[in-house]
Amino acid sequence: MARHEIKLRRQLIDESALQRHRDYSALLQRHERERKRRKTNRIFMYSFVVVVITILLLIIASYFVLKWEKEREMQKNRKTNQTEQLKP
C-alpha cells in the first residue's frame, strides 16, 4: 500500500469558494476570544498557585505553632511537677 494518495484535480478551486472562506473579521473575533480565554486561564492558574502556596504556608506555620505550644505546655508541666516535689 502506498504511503500517501496522489490524485489529479481537473479544476482549480474556484474564486467563490475562496471568497466564502476568506473572512478576516471572523478571524479577529476568534483571536479576541482566544486571547480572553488564555488570559482567564492564566489568571486561574496564578490564583490556583497562590492558593496552593498559601495553604502550604498555613500548614507549615500551624505545624510550628503547635510544636511550640506543645513544648511550652511540657515546660509548664515540668515546672509544676518540680514545684510540687519541692513542697514539704
Binding site: 500517501h4 490524485k7 484535480r9
Partner: protein, 187 residues
C-alpha cells in the same frame, strides 16, 4: 521576492505586533495561497477551511514573537500550515492526500519542455506514490509553490543543503524512471 519587498512586509508585521488589525493585509495577500497549499494535501474543502483558519489564528496569536530571518512572512505561514497538516494527519491516522491540479502540472511540463500527455501524468502519479513524504513535501514546495531553497529549509525546519539534497534525489529518481530532463531552474 526582493529584499526590499521582504522588508516592507516586515514593517507590516511590526505594526501587527502592536495592532492585530494591521495583520489584515497579510491575511488578504496570502489567504488564497495557503488555502490552496492546504487543499492540495487534504482534497477536502471544509477541512482545508478549518486548517487554514487555524493557521492564520496561530500566526495572529504568535505574531508578537515573530523575528525576521531573511525569508518572506509567507514562509512562516507555510511552516504553520505544514505543522497543522502534520498534526491533523497524525491525529486522524489517515493517509496524506496530494492532489495535483492539472493546470499546475501542465504549466510545469510546459516550463520543462516536456510533452504533457495523460499517460505521462498517470506514470508521474504512480512514481510519486513511491516517493517518501519528505521528498514529496520538498518537490511540492519547490515546483508547485515555487519556493527558494532557503524558504523550503525554513518551512520544513531542515538545512538548506538537506532541502537541495532531497530535491536532487527526487529529480534523479524521476530521471531514472522517465528518462526526462526535468531541470531545477531556480537552483
Amino acid at each position: 521576492m526582493t529584499e526590499e519587498e521582504i522588508k516592507r512586509e516586515y514593517e507590516l508585521v511590526d505594526r501587527a505586533k502592536r495592532d492585530p488589525a494591521a495583520f489584515g493585509p497579510l491575511y488578504e495577500k496570502y489567504f488564497d495561497r495557503i488555502f490552496n497549499f492546504i487543499f492540495t494535501q487534504t482534497d477536502d474543502e471544509d477541512l482545508t477551511a478549518d486548517l487554514c483558519s487555524q493557521t492564520f489564528l496561530i500566526a495572529l496569536g504568535h505574531v508578537h514573537k515573530y523575528e525576521f530571518r531573511g525569508v518572506p512572512i509567507s514562509a512562516w505561514f507555510y511552516k504553520i500550515a505544514t505543522n497543522e497538516l502534520n498534526k491533523y494527519f497524525n491525529k486522524a491516522k489517515t493517509r496524506k492526500v496530494y492532489s495535483l491540479d492539472e493546470v499546475s502540472l501542465r504549466n510545469l511540463f510546459e516550463r520543462e519542455d516536456e510533452e504533457y500527455s495523460e499517460e505521462t501524468v498517470r506514470q508521474l502519479i504512480e512514481f510519486m506514490k513511491d516517493l517518501s513524504a519528505e521528498m514529496l513535501e520538498v518537490l511540492q514546495l519547490r515546483f508547485f509553490e515555487e519556493k527558494e531553497f532557503r524558504e523550503i529549509a525554513f518551512i520544513l525546519d531542515i538545512s538548506e543543503s538537506t532541502a537541495k539534497m532531497r530535491t536532487y534525489r527526487a529529480l534523479d529518481k524521476l530521471r531514472e524512471r522517465f528518462n526526462v530532463n526535468m531541470k531545477d531552474g531556480k537552483a
